[in-house]
Subunit: 148 residues, 2 copies
DNA sequence: TCTAAAGTATGATTTTTATCATATATTTCA
DNA sequence: TGAAATATATGATAAAAATCATACTTTAGA
């Protein structure tokens, strides 16, 4: 579904949402280590996200990445659009041009309601809300913290 | 979600399910033209599917591919397993090792029910049933037949 | 004011996926 | 029995995605 790039981007941003603040910026190095993602790839991604105002950054010592209040108002969907492009959810599951109710493919009936629901969720919920819920529910972002 | 390979494979098989029979085999050439997929790529895929008993074939003039009664008992899930491997549905949406309810990622709550239901549908319904439903409901497999 | 710690910019490489191409083996039918 | 139609087998190439690397810029703090 999503590219690695998008997955890393989402995880980084949710990570920043719970762990960073304007007073506590986090460097790519640390993010990459915690999330166990390739560092330079992540650096590139974070640049792109910064350019698109999805995350904030500061150079120099004690610099790093963090989420501003505005950044927290963005959605998962904004991230996906930024990295993978906005077509992710209107593509047909079987690769048949566009996905719509007029020309449904055989998988449409089962797949489509879910796509709609997920898209809605990703579009309507803010990063901030996601982060808050994560804290409540105790979800996981890194492999390290998994209970295995 | 699925690779092009899997998409082509599924579409070919559903196509064969409604258009072919032991008495009416169809050549790669025709399948590829109708589905508008790259011919040699499809040829390779059909070979793999044949090897794995998901489709049947015969060489020589009037040869081609078709679905036997047994082939029709297979599921979409069998196709996906054959082409993309069986991990497609237990991977975490955010790339966090495995997807399970014990160590949910932040997207798990919204994504997981969907994955479960689709997997179930893909596993439990046979190709034959899919084809029958398609005829009833009038779904589409090729770009050509789309109402645009 | 210098140095080190960050991000920024850009391009090279590797890996995976998708696609193209070509030679071989069977089989029907004239 | 031989030519044509088909699948089969295998390898080459191209395109896309992921990863690695390197040089540059800014800034805090000694
Ligand atoms: S048309 Fe194929 S998933 Fe909607
Ligand atoms: S754990 Fe991430 S989708 Fe289930």
């Amino acid at each position: 579904m999503l590219s690695n790039a998008s997955k890393y981007a989402i995880r980084s941003i949710l990570y920043l949402a719970t762990n960073s603040s304007e007073d506590h910026k986090i460097s790519v190095k640390v993010i990459a280590e915690d999330l166990e993602t390739p560092q330079s790839f992540l650096a590139k991604l974070l640049q792109q996200l910064t350019t698109n105002k999805l995350v904030s950054s500061a150079k120099g010592p004690h610099g790093g990445f963090y989420l501003s209040a505005k950044n927290r108002k963005k959605s998962l969907w904004d991230i996906i659009k930024c990295i993978d492009g906005g077509e992710k959810f209107n593509q047909c599951f079987l690769g048949l041009s566009e996905c719509n109710d007029v020309n449904p493919c055989p998988a449409h009936a089962i797949v489509s309601p879910f796509k709609k629901q997920i898209l809605e969720n990703f579009r309507d919920k803010t990063i901030g809300q996601y982060a808050d819920e994560s804290l409540e529910k105790g979800t996981y972002l890194t492999l390290k913290e998994l209970e295995i």
